[in-house]
Amino acid sequence: MATPEEPVGRLVGEALTAEEMLALPVFEGTSKALLEKNIGAVVRRVFPPGEIICREGEFGSTAFYILEGAAEVFLATPLAHLKGKPRRSGLFGRMASFLQSWARRAPEGEADPGGGGTIPVDGPVDLPLDNPIADLGERDLFGEMTCINFYPRSATVRAKTRVVALEMLRNMLDVLKRGSKAFKEQLDTNYRERALSTHLKSLPLFRGLTPEFVEKLRERVELVSFEPGKVICGQGDPADKLFLIRMGFVKVSQASPGGDVTLQYLHRGDYFGEMGLLGSGVRTATCTALDHVEVVQIGREEFEEMMREFPAMRAGMEQKAREHAASNALRMESLAALPVDEFLEQGLMGAQSLLLIDLERCTRCDACVHACAATHEGVTRLVRDGLRYDKYLVPTSCRSCMDPLCMIGCPVGSIRRKEDLEIVIEDWCIGCGLCAKNCPYGNINMHILGEAEGGGEEKKAKPKQKAITCDLCAGQASGPSCVYACPHDAALRVDPREFFLEERGR
């Protein structure tokens, strides 16, 4: 055995020899020679009660497998509200706030939190939205996405009792997943028993399923993995399965004369493949794994049985499929009408709702910026600076891109696109900053909320932060505040394809 608590490679802990590994049930069936080649890629770590095992938002490269003890997984970042919510003081201000919040409240049944009441995290469980905390126990694996895809940690895990865990690098996780049948089965069983029904229930369309039917599905679904870049289903292929994403990100694209067009990105908890099953029996789009993706496959037979037994669900799914088909057709149509010139290079073509400022009208009074700040708790989501296109300034503000790269990699799925155009960042954002890094136009900002406690080995205080982006002032009847507050009619929110085509026609 290596010296206890000695740093091993990038890991700190007690390194295990091949013999010690083979003595653990989790390594059963793996080759000793392979384990010997990967000495140092797994360490045993002991966490006293209360100690943080990993912290949300941090970038890591390891997964943890609990051998003994119990831990809790939770979101330490408060579910802070950085949505459109005006900050006012004084009697009139409070009255106005009340009236405005009353006017902006979501209609009954529309308060969809995205995950339908759960927050997807990188573990065998999802966290309830109202109280984001859950338990982990022996033989649970967490941090798989971080380990395989190097995404930030999606949640904080703290030891409830004395926890003995294996911390492993990706090479060891691969060895286990490929070599140890017991390990693979254990993960699949954990998923089927603990996460599958939560995943199904988290989707509004599947909420009507009876426990008996979920039980039936549990036994009959297939769990399948796809490596990055692998096509899960191709446009034009026969549709024979419905897919529910268990891990990773999937790109949905459609072929067009100018090349493939990305329709959307899907992540853990989302489903796809229903349009082909409900419609012509042929896949309408190509779905590709962007990173290491694991999906639950529901076969045609089970799907049809589900549709027969739950007609309300069928109606809902058909309605959704029709909506998707219509919006996809609209996008493809508008793309076909596009002029190909230099403005495409700037990503203006990819925008769906672009903020433009007519510089010949704008007096640079910043009323738009102030209005944005006033609508969003004093924090503006718009900076009046950027490139010019003709006489228009394209300021730093979310464009609601057709290919929203910002959505790739969010470890908790808090950034998402609504059925209409806007990109929203939900309250459970853990502030890892990946979306801000991914946005090609620098239009997502990180807003510091305050000081958080130190974590892990280092006790240094870290600021709590949340990502913020323009939500087009969702829920505000008068539309985006920046446009509403511009006294010179200089601020415009436009669909760039229509707008610039019209401008050229003048």
Binding site: A103, R364, D385, K391, S478, P487, H488
Partner: protein
Amino acid sequence: MILDRSQRGWALSTLAAFLVATVSYAITAAGEPDGPRGGSAPGLLFGGAAYAIVLFAALLGVRRRLAGWQVGRAAGWLRAHVWLGLLSYPLILFHAGFRFGGPLAFTLLVLFTLVWASGVAGMLIQHFLPRILTESVDQETVYEQIDQVCAQLRREAETLVGGAGGKTAAVPRAKTAGAIQGRVVESRSAVEEPAADRAPLERFLADTMAAFFASKGVRSSPLWEHHRRAALFAGLRQRVVPALHPVTRDLEALCSQREQLEIQRRIHLWMHGWLFVHVPLAYALVALGAVHAVAALSY
């Protein structure tokens, strides 16, 4: 606000209201041998309407402060402010019967004239200057950031001139590609040349350029005028080794950006400076108008 076709509705309505008021005044004036007076019923009506417009116009400032309030589009408010404001002046003249009256009424009329005239000037300024600013400054930044950007330009110049340590400087440029135009930043690795060769650059930076990047006194710098700047940099190029010529061009680009920022600052001040006259006078007008109304109605 641009005075274009979109203003036609307001312009025609204002003209119609003006004609109605003028005809009414003419009829009233014809019926009174001593001429119309502010205290008469028509006079009070003209005065009341003009003062109501003044009060409404003053609310534009409140509307601006409450940017997040849903009380109508700001563009609509500004249109109403401008066109009703224009109408208010003939109304007040009709109220006064084209007489100056006592000291208070005289002061009020002068004040009204100043507010109205400064408003008209502001309207014209905001009609023309945005276009001028857009055309003449292609490397615009946020106004409040100008001083910071100038300081940044100076740091980049020092990096370029310093040269040691393989540092990289960011040199801003205006770039145009088709209809796209904007400020782009190009990375420049500092040229490694012996310190002796860099001496002319260092002297030029310290003696000539440093003051140009300061927030004040820019126009007195020899770098302000294009031809002098070009001559100075041509001279500098003759004093340095050819390997450093690209550095001189980058320094010239930094100066050009500094010039643009100064032009932006000046146009911005013109574009908003008139408000320092218009707004305080308008508030004084509201206050004195109230005093005048109370005094006139009481006695």
